[in-house]
Point group: C2
């Protein structure tokens, strides 16, 4: 038996998210069906974590245990030849027997793409959120840095999510200007952490956008971090939840 | 009555092409329905030309005649607020009464995106064609230049298309390396001409790809240009027709 780690890219638009479910086709199901067909085994894969419907990935990670004898360098080719073009397996490597794509993950990096100005980019609409109001990217960058460190992110979680602790460590959180064809202005928000609460990146992004639009002060962030009581009340004071389509899981890191 | 020129971007994936038709929703229909709702008139728009299902646009042009009193700078906002995000009107200007988006067009520029290498880009699959064989971009660039000038492009037209003349002038035809996330290699093929035959850009691109893959000699192009007899036979000697999704109409130019 080999324990195999695969890295995956996907355009999440057409899928009901990462995780296999009853209603709608999930990325996990596409990969499990392909692997089961190739290996003639019933393959179950473990992802590094769920991504919601509409969220994309350039570096999702998952592992599965199999007797499969296909050489590892041929495995992505074999899988890619029988799955849709909007999901691509980019690598396969053998890992230790106790490796688990979810529990062994040390860091994850997400990116959220925001465009602004008169023109929203039609060709990039499934990969970004557009603000018709101008954004002050300098203020947003300043605010983004405030999330770095170990904090209680209770206010930045979808209300009612079951979780044992709302404390997470953010290693980096920054905003970078970028170019996207068909619009005047675009930025990427990059955030790397040891884990993320449900909707956390999308709520942080919404909060940064409100700061960029001048509808919120940078100082408001300190009132939202490390507040562990009054769950629903605190959440209501953070920013709006940006839609899933602007979000991309960039990488999952397994080394310390 | 005003004659109004609009410039449009669209992600063509979900549409049955530009031109209104019985089966499937066309971009033209989305725009005509929106304009009719805004102006309370039955608006008919004339596009610079058709684009096939799956083909995209960053600079499609169309005109319509209307009594519409909406200020021109507000018109894109009004239209965009009631159409899907994957179609965006980027500008509206008033033009002379005799202006016709199709017949007044002097030049059009198309771009075809090709990626190659081990990894195909999942997030860009609807906007590009992938070659698992390596491409020699220098050879492709050299070959691309041979299309410049006035030639009979009979061999580069879908067989059986009704057309009075197969002679077109290509002002520029070149290949440029670019970066696309999630794959090792990418190029854009740009071509500007006074007009294009049906599938012409996609057949030229297919011919260039065969040269890049080493399956065709650069010299074969001279045997394909300016051959006006034996229609079907000559077409069969040109390259394959690349799929529509890699193609984008970049601009339509109305000045000499």
């Amino acid at each position: 038996m080999r324990n195999i780690l695969i890295k995956i890219q996907y355009d999440g638009t057409q899928y009901a998210g990462w995780q296999r479910q009853k209603n709608g086709l999930a990325v996990q199901q596409v990969l499990e069906d392909a692997l089961s067909a190739i290996t003639k085994e019933k393959v179950a894969i473990t992802g590094s974590g769920r991504t919601d419907a509409g969220v994309h990935a350039l570096g999702q990670a998952a592992n599965f245990v199999s007797n499969c004898t296909v050489p590892l360098e041929k495995l992505p080719i074999a899988i890619n030849s029988i799955i849709p073009d909007d999901i691509r397996v980019i690598s396969a490597t053998e890992v230790a027997a106790d490796f688990n794509a979810r529990f062994s993950a040390k860091r994850k990096t997400y990116r959220y793409t925001v465009t602004w100005g008169k023109n929203a980019p039609a060709l990039y609409s499934r990969f970004s959120w557009h603000s018709y109001y101008p954004l002050d990217i300098t203020k947003m960058g300043e605010a983004a840095r405030l999330f770095e460190g170990t904090h209680d992110f209770n206010a930045f979680m979808a209300s009612g999510s079951p979780v044992s602790s709302t404390v997470r460590t953010i290693y980096s959180s920054y905003v970078e200007r970028t170019n996207i064809e068909g619009c005047e202005n675009a930025l990427h928000y990059y955030v790397t952490g040891n884990g993320f609460l449900y909707n956390m990146v999308r709520i942080i992004t919404g909060t940064l956008i409100e700061i960029g639009q001048g509808r919120r002060e940078i100082e408001s962030i300190s009132d939202l971090l490390n507040v562990s009581d009054e769950r629903g009340v605190v959440r209501a004071k953070a920013g709006f939840t940006t839609p899933p389509n602007g979000l991309t899981l960039m990488s999952v890191d397994y080394t310390e």
